[in-house]
């Protein structure tokens, strides 16, 4: 019998069983009692050839349709240099495990070191890890750091303008742990910071905010860090990392923890994953940050080399006393971001962010002229903005008609929050990748529907 990906011939099997000293493979399963061994094959289909699988998947893929995406909400369609996919597909990157054996993994380790360096440069923070699962999980890890950093604390304050899914992941984080997520309400589309002072009770360990926030709006965190630090609380800012080319960095706002997603830097939409979470912290939190960290050191001959380091924080050493359970991370996705940033450089990153800003404003400006839709708030935004429709029938028609023209016009906020108050809000994202033609196509269709 020949099986895919298994090299054994009948002759091999025979020789191996002889060497082991058993008569059959079944004998090797003797410790599984009769009632555990399946009498039948598991009820999945029979194997297929490569060609059969290709045909089948190709047919399934045809049930997907793609359009010109003006969709964002944490996942954006930016330009990506061809170097990224090509280099990130090199087999010694793709098929390697976590670089436990430093001497034979210098390439991967150095790539992680370069990733950490770029994250530190962009966020302005002192220490970055080598990646986390995604932006939402980075926020949950930040909450854990906060609770662990202030004695007797049990609550983490979060802004009501966090991405709805990040907020949901944080609520899950708190579930059944005795910790609490307390939401600072929003006002005019941004965090209502006036209520911050009174919210900072002794049980509160820190504050997590997001900018651009769930609506794409840019938040102003002047004086926030001072207020938090005065009460012994930590300050975490979550950002789409590309936005930091334009807006103040977490360090410049005085944050202790910078978190978010690097999807906007080199990762495909890929139906939302793999993405890549990042986290960078101040020096004071260096031994609290979760996940793998790569450091540079020297070998016996004084040659510079890289290795996984500060592992006394991690689960394989500390078990129940570890700062987090994270083991596998999103290394290959982090590598894609590293290649992307290496190709763009700072000027390229600024250009991508700046063009996204201008194009988003171009679309927003013209859409705001149309009857039946308005920009919800007069607050600065970057590449994504919220539109409010005057009625839901119109909104549905708008989305449908634009879809018919191959345009994915935006994300309905209520599809994330499941709240009726959000039903008329559409979030529209525009990146540097959207051409003038695509913008005009959108506008023309919008004018037709909304007239």
């Amino acid at each position: 019998m020949v099986y895919p990906y298994i090299p054994h011939t009948d002759e091999d099997r025979k020789r191996m069983l002889e060497a082991i000293g058993v008569g059959s493979i079944e004998e090797l399963y003797a410790s599984l009692t009769e009632d555990l061994l399946l009498s039948d094959s598991v009820p999945i289909s029979h194997g297929r050839t490569e060609d059969e699988v290709l045909r089948m998947i190709t047919a399934i893929a045809q049930r997907n349709s793609t359009g010109i995406p003006f969709l964002g909400c944490g996942c954006y369609d930016h330009l990506v240099p061809s170097t990224v996919q090509t280099l990130a597909s090199l087999p010694s990157f793709v098929t390697a495990y976590t670089p436990y054996q430093a001497e034979m993994s210098q390439g991967l380790l150095q790539a992680s070191y370069e990733f950490q360096s770029m994250i530190c440069e962009i966020t302005g923070m002192d220490v970055s890890n080598a990646s986390l699962y995604d932006g939402a999980n980075s926020a949950a890890e930040a909450a854990t750091i906060m609770i662990g950093s202030k004695r007797k604390s049990k609550a983490v304050l979060v802004s009501g303008t966090l991405h709805p899914f990040t907020l949901q992941v944080l609520h899950t984080w708190a579930l059944g742990t005795g910790n609490e997520i307390r939401v600072l309400e929003e006002k005019n589309g941004v965090t209502d910071l006036k209520s911050l002072h009174s919210a900072l009770t002794d049980e509160v360990a820190g504050l997590i905010v997001q900018t651009p926030n769930r609506y794409g709006l840019l938040e102003d965190f002047s004086t926030v860090a001072e207020q938090l630090h005065e009460k012994g609380c930590l300050f975490a800012i979550s950002s789409d990392i590309l936005s930091l080319a334009i807006q103040k960095s977490p360090a410049e706002w005085g944050a202790d923890i910078a978190i978010g997603d690097t999807q906007a830097l080199g990762l495909p939409l890929a139906f939302g994953g793999p993405s890549c979470g990042y986290m960078a912290v101040t020096k004071a939190l260096m031994r609290k940050i979760p996940g793998r960290i790569v450091g540079a050191t020297v070998d016996g001959q004084g040659r510079r080399g890289y290795t996984l380091t500060l592992q006394a924080r991690e689960q394989h050493i500390k078990r129940e006393k570890a700062s987090s359970n994270v083991c596998s991370n999103q290394a290959l996705a982090a590598l894609m971001t590293t290649i992307h940033l290496s190709s763009l450089g700072w000027s390229g990153m600024v250009e991508a962010a700046q063009q996204s800003y201008v194009k988003a404003h171009y679309l927003a400006y013209h859409l705001a002229q149309l009857p039946g839709m308005t920009l919800v708030w007069d607050v600065p935004f970057w590449c994504e903005f919220p539109l409010r429709f005057s009625d839901s029938k119109k909104m549905r028609k708008f989305l449908q008609e634009l879809r018919n023209e191959g345009i994915f016009a935006g994300v309905r906020l209520s599809s994330l929050t499941r709240e009726t108050k959000d039903e008329l809000v559409l979030l529209v994202a525009v990146t540097e990748k959207r051409s003038r033609e695509e913008l005009e196509l959108y506008l023309a269709a919008a004018r037709r529907v909304m007239k």
């Binding site: 490569e50 049930r63 994953g273």
Partner: protein, 483 residues
């Protein structure tokens, strides 16, 4: 042989990528007000300024300084470093998948949903569970989610006193760490002489404060917990639940199911058992699978097949909620699905059988020369101890591992499980041929002979790599974590 940092090749003004010029109507950009200055970034970031070829050569060089399954044998125990089929890589680059936005209208993403739904069906069949969630991004994430469901289940039943999670001493470090993240206290269960769960010790710890037992089966010594039915019955009898760490499913898939063993919830490591590449540390995928007891607590949204096609269902009052940003590591799920399609029911069973055959074959060759503290038939992996070598010649497990690097192999897992001193854990997987296993065993045995005669030689290994053993203490004491 080493490669400088790319930032050190930087030259002001050099570019590796150009953006198309902004082509909006003249004047629009000029008329557009700038963002308020207090929101603007102050300090530029220092990133490389290089040409495209510099980028290509840099990362190509770094790839040559890395080692994957495609480069050579990788018997890294507990990690199931089997071959990652190229078909999966090819399909994962189909634009019909890579250009899909996670929030586009569901009528336009039925292909993705059907893959996730069918994968869940297949994984349910393979594990003997009723359903699952694909959101967790890795094994440890799955553990966290599974234990969260256990937490929610007991909260729902008002059994708030169930605050303990039992974990065998041989368990992976993520198990206790995941328990603590959910607010549980960890109680360690002893192993018996055979390396299996000490049932008496377990029973003495079972009471109304126990929420769950976490178990890997086969365990991390590569041994099947043959009393699993008695174990699961005892835990259930005291009202607790059983968590299965699926990292070692490769030994038994298609042969037996965790469901039949009495487990209530488990995670899979698709990046191990289901052949998706590990990417130098990730992304993986760690689906959680549950039986009917825990099904209502699965993360949201669920995927259902209705007359109108696949839909997400959010209205699930007992759900623990969301656990990832979107729907999971979709491109990893896709590769695992391709693997299952390719292998089929007979193929996955054959994979398990040959993984076990290979491990036993390799063990039979090595046990004549090395100490295998928990002997007898193993499953897909086994553990040797270098304790005697250390006593007699000063040679440690690490020394043996480093010596293997020079022979062109990735070493086995070192110092895990902690139950075995100076442990080396071998998991050859089904992918390796008898010739490879023979050559590997010969290499290891001749290394051993050499070590006995000349211990200093192994102490200095590896010799063939761009750097030798690194000063780990310095890395910690004088952290150099970025350029």
């Amino acid at each position: 042989m080493s490669e400088p940092l790319l930032i050190d090749k930087s030259k002001k003004g050099r570019k590796a990528y150009c953006f198309p010029a902004l082509d909006l109507p003249r004047g629009f950009e000029q008329a557009l007000p700038e963002l308020p200055s207090h929101l603007l970034r102050i300090k530029p970031a220092r990133l490389p300024e290089v040409a495209e070829l510099d980028v290509v050569r840099h990362f190509t060089k770094l790839s040559t300084l890395s080692f994957g399954v495609d480069n050579g044998p990788y018997p890294l125990g507990s990690c199931t470093m089997k071959y990652n089929p190229k078909l999966g890589e090819q399909i994962a680059q189909f634009p019909a998948f890579t250009t899909m936005h996670p929030l586009q209208d569901i009528s336009t993403s039925q292909g993705c949903l059907s893959i996730m739904y069918n994968l869940l069906e297949d994984l349910s069949s393979i594990t003997g569970m009723s359903w699952g969630s694909l959101q967790p991004c890795a094994g440890a994430h799955g553990e966290y989610v599974g234990l969260k469901m256990i937490r929610a289940y007991f909260l729902e039943r008002g059994e708030v006193a169930r605050n303990k999670v039992l974990v065998p001493i041989s368990a992976h470090g993520t198990n206790p760490a995941s328990a603590v993240m959910n607010g549980f206290d960890v109680v360690t269960v002893a192993s018996n002489k055979e390396g299996l769960v000490d049932i008496e010790d377990l029973k003495s710890k079972l009471d109304g404060s126990v929420a769950a037992l976490m178990l890997t089966n086969p365990n991390t010594l590569g041994l099947f917990e043959k009393d699993i039915l008695e174990i699961s019955a005892s835990v259930h009898e005291c009202g607790g639940l059983l968590y299965y760490d699926g990292a070692n499913l490769n030994a038994i898939m298609g042969m037996a199911t965790p469901g039949d063993m009495g487990f209530d919830v488990l995670h899979l490591n698709l990046h191990k058992t289901f052949s998706t590449p590990h990417g130098g540390g990730g992304p993986g995928s760690g689906p959680v699978m549950v039986n009917d007891t825990l099904r209502p607590f699965l993360p949201k949204p669920d995927i259902e097949l209705t007359d109108g096609g696949y839909v997400y269902t959010w209205d699930r009052p007992l759900s623990i909620g969301k656990v990832s940003m979107f729907w999971g590591n979709f491109l990893v799920l896709l590769r695992a699905y391709v693997y299952i399609l390719r292998m089929g029911s007979e193929g996955i069973k054959a994979a398990a059988a040959h993984a076990v055959l290979n491990a036993n074959y390799l063990k039979s060759k090595l046990e004549k020369h090395f100490d295998v503290p928990y002997g007898g038939v193993c499953m897909h992996e086994f553990v040797i101890s270098c304790e005697n070598l250390k006593k007699e010649y000063g040679i440690t497990a690490q020394d043996m591992a480093k010596g293997l690097i020079d022979e062109g192999y990735h070493p086995p897992t070192m110092y895990f499980p902690t139950l075995v001193s100076e442990a080396l854990m071998f998991e050859p997987t089904e992918s390796e041929s008898i010739e490879t296993l023979d050559a590997f065993a010969d290499s290891l045995i001749s290394l051993l002979e050499r070590a006995k005669k000349d211990p200093a030689y192994l102490k200095g290994a590896p010799y063939s790599t761009p750097v030798g053993r690194l000063d780990e203490v310095r890395a910690i004491k004088e952290p150099d974590l970025h350029y």
